[in-house]
């Protein structure tokens, strides 16, 4: 279709969608109102099960099956990154020298800051995972912090060091086993909030590392081509 025709179709659809949404919005309950029946029902359950963070209680106990699906989506997408961004043979030959990249030339200040932040960031990640049942946070949030943490090494200019500390097969296996443990926990032992937070943290962290690793490979390939 021509650009013009596309915009006409969009104008029709967009106006219609706006109208439909507005019609619905003005029939919604008043903003900020007190009626949240489902939310109210979950509160006593969370307190009874000693999970003061009600959101964790919903995610890992009352509606753990949702989170099971979510975990598997994460695993599927990490596998998909491995699959779709795999390097085919010709590219591997092109990129044979890619590990020859030494540490980049960066300011000492940046390098020292990066390395200094690394243990602090990992600690923060572990804390967020471990206290997920009690305070805002949990496996997902902490896992992202953990997964990002080791990339401080890359930001400090040392890609080879990053590649050394994250062996891909180990992270693949770790991620999948964590997801497997979550399947077992969610279906047979729902409510083990701390254990579930821990495996989720492991899985999210590994998935972040794995996905980013595949993008790094591509980025370095592309950079070498140019």
């Amino acid at each position: 279709m021509s650009r013009r025709a596309r915009l006409l179709v969009l104008a029709f659809g967009g106006c219609g969608l706006a109208l439909l949404f507005a019609l619905a919005a003005f029939r919604l309950p008043d903003f900020g109102g007190t009626s949240h029946p489902y939310g109210q029902r979950t509160l006593p359950n969370a307190i009874a099960h000693h999970t003061p963070n009600v959101i964790s209680s919903i995610n890992f106990d009352q509606r753990a099956f949702d989170t099971l699906g979510e975990e598997l989506i994460l695993m599927a997408s990490a596998l998909a990154a491995v699959l779709i961004l795999r390097t085919v043979r010709a590219e591997q030959e092109d990129a044979a020298g890619k590990h020859a990249y030494g540490p980049a030339q960066v300011f000492d200040a940046l390098r020292i800051t990066g390395y200094a932040l690394l243990p602090v960031t990992i600690m923060t990640g572990v804390y967020i995972v471990a206290h997920g049942y009690l305070s805002p946070g949990g496996g997902f949030q902490g896992g992202v912090v953990l997964g990002s943490a080791i990339h401080l090494v890359y930001l400090s200019g040392d890609y080879p060091a990053l590649a050394r500390i994250r062996p891909i097969p180990m992270f693949e296996a770790g991620e999948a086993l964590a997801a497997g443990a979550f399947v077992a926990l969610a279906l047979a032992f729902a409510g083990q909030v701390t254990a579930m937070n821990a495996v989720v943290g492991l899985e999210v962290g590994s998935a972040v590392v794995l996905t980013l690793a595949k993008f790094f490979e591509q980025a370095l390939l592309v950079r070498k081509d140019t």
């Binding site: 939310g39 003061p52 959101i55 989506i73």
Partner: protein, 114 residues
């Protein structure tokens, strides 16, 4: 008056859709898809909001205290994870499109109809 706040997610959704349709770069289109998705976060949180209520975490407040709807927050968390993974997957596909077709402009990609 306060009902107007519900229109914000609708606006975000339409902005995302407009971005995808008029996009000249697939990376931009994928990011616009995340914009459209963030409308669902905003909508969920708007629906769960309650005036003069605090976060549904009872570690340092009395159990009798009013809190906002925790369920929409749990749904939003799920939704964020879904959104992030879908974005990663679509960007991976975009990288491959760029490599195989040599362009990321949807106007320059030829039709898939043979």
């Amino acid at each position: 008056m306060s009902q107007f706040l519900y229109l914000i997610p609708g606006w975000i959704l339409l902005a995302g859709v407009y971005g995808i349709v008029t996009s000249r770069n697939l990376v931009h289109a994928v990011v616009c898809l995340s914009v459209a998705q963030s409308a669902t976060y905003v909508l969920l949180l708007t629906i769960g909001y309650q005036r003069k209520a605090t976060a549904p975490v009872f570690s340092d407040i009395k159990p009798t205290r009013n809190v906002v709807d925790p369920l929409v927050q749990a749904m939003t968390l799920t939704d964020i994870v879904v959104g992030a993974t879908v974005t990663a997957l679509l960007l991976a596909l975009t990288v491959q499109v760029a490599k195989r077709r040599g362009t990321v402009d949807p106007d320059d990609l030829r039709s898939l109809e043979p």
